[in-house]
Symmetry: C2
Subunit: 332 residues, 2 copies
């Protein structure tokens, strides 16, 4: 009973001395090595939650936004949703005999990544429309869930949802225990990420922001449905991220977490607000446990952020040095 | 202490027998007359919150959506945001000398409502763009707040935010006390409604869905801002309401509250889901305390909903008969 009451107090933002003492004794981020990155996180959380402190932030304003690809789960050899697209093209090919001779579909069916890369953004959008539209939202959700349950990552031979970063799961829990509301702000598809965000990250669908295509309300045989249309609605990347956050949340978060230049404007906008602010960029520099890439990667390119993080006061995380382990499935 | 602990339990969805007893003794909807409408609300809430009951709904799925104009606050003689537009045209006219001879601006400046009505939807959009775009999101917020603080309703001579329906405020509180998450789904502008939703309804900005224009990220003198552009982004009305709900929330609410045919598809989609569902339409039939209008009104037209509510099992509320009082400022 004592414990339940204390938990309830904490959930509502009251942190009695007893709870604070207990918290000090248990490491909330056990998969993080002691160092400047971990220290910066813990000091920020202590600052904004200290009642009566100069930097206290009321619980309702404790909003933290997280990029998904490369920040919460891996994104190599290519964005996982991109791999889903390729798998769907293969699966749907029998119903589209013309794809055998039609680019960019032919490149996918031939596993010809060079031609595919040459098709660029335009080619990718065409593939997305062919695989993400033309069905109801419910049908799309089932297709994604089925893929996530069966597809395996080419390097790790595991489900994609196993490739989430253990240190980031701990960080999400730590922030929520300190009455932060945690959001995903992904360049990936909003309805794609929502199929697993609650189960994998503890983030409910209404706290997921992402790119979208248009949907249309229809009544089919007396039953109302939402049909996904092959038209872009919103690209939640780069300059789009602050726009998406403002649209969905309507106030500026106080902390932002990313890993690529696609997150630059989100960090820039979040950390430009008044009062205490926190920005963090994850640097993928661990070829052994995960992947090493930054300035020239096709997925998750990090160039400007690497140069500007120090002078903007953003924490730069080295996966190799700051994380005790990357994935939960690693041997400790 | 006892009371705090019970409140905390309730907030997390535990409702011990003691609290249930206490709740049974206090009327949660004192401004509602006893009758079929009030009974239907209370029975629905009891059904979905009864632990172990066949219709129990977990707290995370207890989402209720409310139209704003005509459902939470008044909408006559015209949508309040429309009246804001007209006031802004008057205020900005000195900077736009051409408006004196240019429709639809001239009609507003001449208070010529007949010409304005003839300009239709297209004319209204032009007025909205001229008054809602070309500034940062922060500048727009200040303009709306200033207007709400000073403008007065033509009939009631009160601030527009006084014209919220007391029975609906009680309903919002009652649902939240039963661990519902309450959302606004308005045909009005999302950034307009967000300026007062938290203070007036207890609904935070991230739980407001509405119509929007595009915003653009810009860095001005080293400071990142979001600039409102004169381009439509989304119309959150009629077929747009289920689309907006799906986009922002990502799951289907279990209860929907509206007052006009603009809310029809929202109620249709919400009540077509599996499990217990609740739909309610407010009928403005009280010319004495508020306004009486339905099938032929320029704002809040209710025609199809009036015909179909009974056969669809939606509760139809008569403001005249079901509400003890309409506004908080009325003498009891």
């Amino acid at each position: 009973m004592e414990k339940i009451v204390l938990t309830l107090f904490a959930a509502l933002g009251f942190v009695p001395a007893l709870v604070q003492q207990a918290a000090a004794q248990v490491d909330p981020l056990p998969s993080w090595n002691d160092g400047a990155a971990k220290k910066s996180i813990i000091e920020f959380v202590a600052r904004v939650t200290k009642k009566g402190g100069a930097d206290f932030v009321p619980p309702a304003e404790r909003i933290a936004v997280f990029d998904n690809d490369g920040t919460l789960w891996a994104e190599q050899p290519f964005y996982f949703q991109g791999l889903f697209v390729f798998d769907r093209v293969h699966a749907l090919a029998p119903q589209h005999p013309d794809w055998k001779d039609k680019q960019p579909f032919k490149a996918v069916l031939d596993n010809d990544m060079k031609t595919l890369a040459a098709a660029g953004q335009h080619g990718l959008v065409e593939l997305v429309m062919a695989t993400h539209a033309g069905m109801t939202t419910e049908e799309f959700e089932l297709t994604v869930k089925d893929w996530l349950a069966t597809a395996r990552h080419p390097k790790f031979k595991r489900a994609y949802t196993d490739l989430v970063y253990q240190p980031m799961l701990e960080l999400l829990s730590y922030l929520r225990a300190n009455v932060f509301k945690t959001y995903i702000v992904s360049g990936g598809g909003i309805e794609f990420v929502r199929t697993f965000s609650e189960k994998v990250y503890g983030i409910p669908p209404e706290q997921v922001i992402g790119s979208s295509i248009l949907t249309k309300f229809e009544v089919r045989n007396g039953r109302p449905v939402l049909v996904r249309e092959p038209k872009l609605d919103f690209i939640d990347d780069k300059e789009g991220k602050p726009v998406g956050i403002n649209k969905f949340i309507g106030r500026r978060p106080i902390a932002a977490f990313g890993n690529s230049d696609g997150d630059f404007q989100m960090l820039e906008w979040v950390t430009a607000g008044t009062g205490p602010r926190f920005g963090l960029i994850i640097h993928h520099d661990d070829a052994e446990r995960e992947f090493a890439y930054d300035r020239v990667s096709a997925a998750g390119k990090l160039d400007r952020g690497l140069d500007e993080a120090p002078k903007r006061g953003w924490t730069l995380v080295s996966m190799k040095n700051d994380w005790k382990r990357v994935f939960a499935f690693e041997k400790k």
